[in-house]
């Protein structure tokens, strides 16, 4: 993993200021790596797991988007207490389902890693 990074040419830095030592950066970068190098690995199992991860990432994205918009509506006072309760229960259930799915596919929270085998990695 770190061996791959060291093959990068030395001059490509556009750092202006600050400290780029972020934890999440590592994951984003690993996901990018595959897309920029053709991956010839046509492993079927890899592909299936990759597709599951792709779907889960999109679901997670939508879930958070919906949750955030619901929160905005609550702030805007346009929902009844009953509606808020039902919404909340739904989101709780959604979150629980997502955790179960992640567990089933052995995906870590931060590592929603979209490896589609021969298609490379996405995002």
């Amino acid at each position: 993993m770190s061996a791959r990074r060291q093959t990068r040419p030395a001059r490509h830095s556009k750092l202006l200021a600050g400290d780029p030592d972020f934890a999440p950066l590592g994951d984003e970068l690993e996901r990018l790596d595959g897309a920029l190098r053709r991956r010839v690995n046509a492993d079927r199992e890899n592909l299936e797991k990759g597709l599951a991860q792709l779907v889960l990432t999109l679901i997670e994205l939508l879930r958070q988007l919906m949750e955030r918009q619901a929160l905005r509506r609550i702030e805007g006072d346009s929902l009844t207490p009953d509606e808020i309760e039902r919404l909340g229960e739904t989101f709780m259930l959604l979150e629980e389902r997502m955790n179960e799915l992640k567990e089933a596919f052995e995906i870590e929270d931060e590592d929603l890693n979209l490896d589609l085998g021969p298609l490379g990695r996405l995002i």
């Binding site: 490509h12 972020f22 950066l25 959604l94 870590e108 490379g120 996405l122």
Partner: protein, 114 residues
Amino acid sequence: MSEQREQMRRRSEEAARRRDRDRDAWRKRNEASRERQERGVSRALRDRDVSLLDLVDRLLDGGVVIHGDITLAVADVDLIYVGLRALIASVETIERDVGISLSASGPSLKASAL
């Protein structure tokens, strides 16, 4: 009567299992985060990393998009990559520009549909 008790017992067991699962997941997440922060990848590498990420954000998601007699100068495989990035970017744009966009009749999330 005993059926009710049985149900209550099952529920509290389930709740305990969920608490344990929560605690494990929480611990794992924190450990992973701490690990990465201590991973001691040199600063030079991080510089190049963030530069590359920002480069790709710009070149593949930004810039003027020309239509019409256009062929994207990348292989088919990479089109999917580019497409998905555009999807993620457009979701961000929707959030930012449109704000609340749930339908007028209200959100209709059915718990049973999950």
